[in-house]
Symmetry: C2
Subunit: 698 residues, 2 copies
């Protein structure tokens, strides 16, 4: 895939320049100077030769076949050049030129024309407005970056060219190896997902690193990310500022879905390893690219000083990693060569007078404990320790075993060459112990993801038929909101239990309905003009007798007529009064990039004050529903506290899957809240007490 | 203070060695080679001269006066040497020698003897088991560290010698300046607080940095830290592993006070800036030592690339810092020299083709907006930018203004010399934008602390008298637990409202009591053998009539006799039944290092499931009580949600102060819970419904 971008047999630089410092010069120079072995053509109507290479007036004048066009001409000429690419049957281009969408309205127009022309001409392209592309294995450096990273196995793509520069510059002195380096620019043709797929297939790439500010098609992103992350670690730094502070949301679910909820959910559901800072992105990449994954959470720490050992242990404590005590035989063996005041458990403190040999022995001994899934080696530059020899010893052992070893040789001056030795032999070295721990933790979390079985989607696809007519009716009547009885019928079609309820136009009908349902009952006003019924005194609960019902009917209707004289009153609904159970809230909202999301949380104050809710992108798998319920902090309340019975958690999971299906069947749903859903004891189900639906968009 | 440690006129090294690589040699060499100008004496019975310095057989043979003794003799000889110090009227020593408390029981004994001998001899000392002490201003390097940090204003003390080495090694290549470097070792005489006070008084020290694993006297630590942190920033990295998993706690308060609760509270109450990783410790130190504090939260970001700008803005968003849009005049001025597609608001993106001059102009212009309290300058190493010139320009501007400027010149190779320029001119440069933001945030938080008024302690010291007899009685009877009526009387003495209640031995007395109090009432069994009354059916609520009371009395007593035949039943308590109000929990627990702490949280499931509680060390100031209540996540529930009235938050604060006073007056209190305290509407107070007290310890 995209092989002419990464491994072209010939490259033309359109807009090549004779002036050092100009982008058109720097790119040509980069292509030539890093050992690219294919043919290179310069295109510049005013030159006959640049950097020792023959220059042609136009692409069309080049005699041979061209695989890749690198475009650096002014923005107004780019479209013409792309047309020439088509004529010359060049199917791949990198558009370096800026001055498109990022520069305002005129630029956006130009970019749309560019997209159109490229499609017509059969040209796929990266950019515009990018730094270019580097492939260290095919030795292509079609970028104006200052330098070429070492050959390696990290594939990096970035929406920010600046971040490319910064990471490249950071990588050069330590000779950190990359397979590919892709500056995505405006992503107007080749997208993040295209690149993720290409890197997933690329044998030279072991770990995929990305920086994104947003995605254009959230669904497609998740689909591809899920596929890719099962093959290779996919580590993404996502920045989050949006100016959408004023998002209009009238539902709870919508109001609670902050700008990061969709990305958080999408990353979780598709196995993306999320880096939260550039430093983390970098730290993770080093370990994932160079060390095997830990098979479990058990970690040993070897250190020549107490303080850093404790700091590392603290960091483990805050993660899912566990410092288990070593087996007795291992401890006994350690005792044979460590001083008696060493610390033999975990962290293993081999003391400040350790040399390389003691490190080597200790590490070999600790690794004999087969339960240990990974080791972190800490070193403080004491006067006695030979840092380089220790680095060599650790690196040698690491190369022989299939468990991850990370190091933190602390300091700067004294550990510089040791750190380089470690890096050279694929052992990532971190400035501080906490970084090594958090990286190993990310590796363990990824291993857990990999080990999970396939997702299961219970069949729920026969439900739609019974609800289609309702959605049709709402659309025909050009409404956005559903009436109470429409909501009732939709929920019914999707298998939600609801209180028995009957509609009544008169006091007499209300009494008859109550009798039919059985006391006690709830009465609610029905009016197309009233949304928040209880706020205006339109709801009465706990009606226990004929008299109660008659009084309530009179009170409600009189009251509503008084305060909203213009409201048309259809009548009331008489509803079975459900007692007991725990209030939860669930809902559907729509994210502009990812589409429908399902929300879950405990109802009432938990959602209102603590905002303790969680989201998953639709469609939800059985496993997503399982995780979603358990992710809220208040989950233990459903398990039962103070001797209460456990709530019917399975019923909640079923309900979440039903909501997910509903939003798939009816993409026009804008928002939905079921609030509250009363969850009964285990095995006794859940009842949707109140709900609101609206459509819009699509 | 400790002037002979840091600025001695003469130093003797006892245990000086002729063998390079031995500690006794390295220290002597360090003292000599870094320009110390006082007299130096070597003490070694087997040498006449070491490193060109005359060596004496014993301290007592030295002719002149000695200010500081540096002790490197084997541990068994240290005590004798300290005795000689006394004889020679040397009042200060650094004991480098290891083999004391850290090495086991024998060593601990030896250390106790050392402490005793030093006291007798009038010698104050640092160590034992330490790396030594460095003072860059008096040019004393009485340590065996490899190197001497540059002269500067960071004072660093550390319980871990290894961390000293790592930080020193990290500081050397960047020439980061320190005033003093103190390896504390076992802290058996001179303590963290002694050093904090010395550094607070030291004119060469602008910021105090510490690493601690624990403190011996928590109270004293807080007292000193509060005093010091008002003068200078006090930044501490505290590691937390303890092996006290099995802490015995029978109260809620005790069980909820995790191992970090006391330190968290102590740091907050005394203005300590807590670093969470070594990296943070270092990052904070650079900025606090070299830049002024921001006077407010308003920050501007200047960047030559979008991605890093967004990442920095994201980080601001997660902190208390605010990116405000610049004034219109400022934006207009920026427009005069920035390209039209630049971003003029905040972050200000001056684009990838910026040179040093554009950075300079932009920074100068932004600073004209007087509302901006601090600026973060980001730079990506593009081909166009002259990194060193930009560094010079930024450093020059920073030197002229009294607002903080931090930078993140990203990358490594291309920014190395620029970064050195920035550091040299006191502008801290960070590898990643997020680090610059979190550091500026720490500076802002410290400024907020500094600006707070003095703490106020409302007078509550007359309450004790009324409760003394109760505590005396419990002690005399050798009990740990208080009876219900004793708890009642203590709470009463300390001003807590409680439900009206009367003791009744018979059914008739109970009926009379209920009549006196007024229906409805609550009935509780009273027995010295029953602690958890409701668990065994010993509590009845909502008794509305004579008949209810008679039935309840019969039921309770029969029931308790059946299931606990051996329990002695005194009778029952009839209690006013309080309705309404919100349940909160508060309590007292005892931390081994800091003593009594007061806890607060919302009652019921909030405390049981969410563990949403907070702590403060006693004594609480008015401000502590204020913060403590507001620190819990559930605090908005007290403010009132869903149109509820606000709870009487002042009553809660009063109650917390009363509890604080109680624990001061009676240090023998081991644990106390008031659970629940029912808080009424604003102005209507709070009622302690149930409580438990126990004494022990002291």
């Amino acid at each position: 895939m995209l092989s002419n971008i990464f491994n072209p047999k010939s490259i033309a630089v359109i807009g090549a320049s004779r002036t050092p410092g100009k982008v058109g010069y720097d790119i040509l120079e980069n292509i030539i100077q890093y050992g690219y072995e294919g043919s290179v053509y310069a295109i510049n109507p005013n030159a006959s030769e640049i950097l020792g290479i023959k220059s042609y007036p136009s692409l069309l004048d080049v005699p041979g076949k061209i695989d890749l066009a690198v475009v650096v001409v002014p923005s107004k000429n780019v479209i013409e050049v792309i047309g020439q690419c088509g004529a010359k049957e060049i199917d791949s281009a990198i558009v370096i030129t800026a001055g498109f969408r990022e520069s305002g309205l005129e630029g956006a127009k130009l970019e749309n024309e560019l997209i159109k022309k490229a499609k017509e001409s059969g040209v796929r392209f990266i950019g515009p407005n990018c730094l270019g592309v580097i492939d260290t294995h095919s030795k292509v450096n079609a970028s104006f970056a200052a330098g070429m990273p070492a050959k390696g196995s990290i594939g990096f793509f970035s929406q920010s060219g600046a971040l490319c520069l910064a990471i490249l510059d950071r990588a050069l002195p330590d000779e950190i190896g990359f397979s590919k380096f892709i500056s995505m620019g405006n992503k107007s043709d080749i997208s993040d997902t295209d690149i993720m797929l290409a890197l997933a297939e690329d044998d030279n790439t072991r770990v995929i690193l990305g920086y994104i500010e947003g995605v254009s098609d959230g669904r497609r992103f998740m689909e591809v990310a899920s596929e890719v992350s099962r093959k290779k670690p996919l580590i993404i730094l996502k920045s989050g500022i949006t100016s959408s502070g004023a998002k209009a949301a009238s539902s709870h679910t919508g109001a609670l879905a902050g700008r990061e909820a969709a990305f958080d959910a999408a990353f979780k559901q598709s196995g993306v390893i999320r880096a939260h800072t550039i430093n983390e992105l970098f730290n993770y990449a080093l370990a994932f690219a160079n060390q095997p994954l830990p098979r479990g959470p058990y970690v040993a720490i070897i250190t020549n000083s107490g303080g850093p050992g404790i700091l590392a242990a603290d960091a483990c404590d805050k993660s899912d990693l566990q410092l288990i005590p070593l087996h007795k035989e291992i401890v006994d063996e350690l005792r044979t060569f460590l001083p008696p005041v060493a610390s033999f458990y975990n962290p293993i403190d081999i003391l400040g007078d350790s040399g390389a040999d003691r490190y080597e022995k200790a590490l070999n001994t600790v690794l004999k404990d087969e339960r240990i899934n990974g080791v972190i080696v800490l070193l403080t530059p004491t006067a006695v320790v030979d840092v380089d020899a220790t680095a060599m010893a650790v690196a040698h052992i690491a190369s022989l075993i299939d468990r991850p070893i990370l190091t933190s040789f602390m300091g700067k001056k004294s550990v510089e060459s040791g750190s380089k030795i470690l890096m050279k032999y694929n052992v990532p070295n971190y400035s501080y112990p906490e970084e090594a721990v958090s990286t190993l933790h990310a590796m363990y979390r990824y291993k857990v993801w990999i080990n999970r079985q396939e997702k299961t989607y219970p069949p729920l696809n026969k439900l739609k038929e019974k609800a289609v007519y309702i959605f049709d009716k709402v659309r025909e009547e050009r409404r956005e909101r559903f009436t109470e009885s429409e909501v009732h019928d939709v929920l019914n079609a999707y298998g939600f239990s609801q209180p028995k309820s009957l509609f009544a136009r008169t006091s007499e009908e209300a009494v008859a309905a109550a009798k039919g349902i059985g006391y006690p009952v709830v009465m609610k006003i029905v009016s197309p003009h009233i949304v928040h019924k209880s706020d205006i005194g339109g709801v009465r609960t706990n009606l226990n007798s004929k008299k109660d019902v008659e009084n309530a009917f009179f009170d409600i209707t009189t009251h509503v007529r008084n305060i909203m004289p213009a409201a048309y009153i259809y009548g009331v609904i008489i509803q079975e009064m459900i007692r007991g159970g725990k209030e939860v809230i669930m809902g559907i909202t729509k994210d502009p990039q990812f589409g429908h999301m399902v929300m879950f949380g405990l109802g009432g104050i938990y959602v209102e004050v603590l905002k303790d809710v969680s989201f998953r992108i639709v469609p939800l798998s059985q496993e997503d529903a399982h995780d979603l319920v358990r992710e809220t902090k208040t989950f233990p309340l459903l398990r039962g506290v103070r001797g209460e019975a456990e709530a019917d958690i399975e019923a909640i999971e079923r309900a979440l899957l039903q909501l997910s299906q509903l939003s798939i069947d009816f993409p026009q749903i804008f928002e939905a809240d079921i609030n509250p859903l009363l969850v009964m004891k285990r095995g006794e189900g859940a009842v949707a007490i109140d709900a609101r639906f609206s459509i819009g968009g699509e």
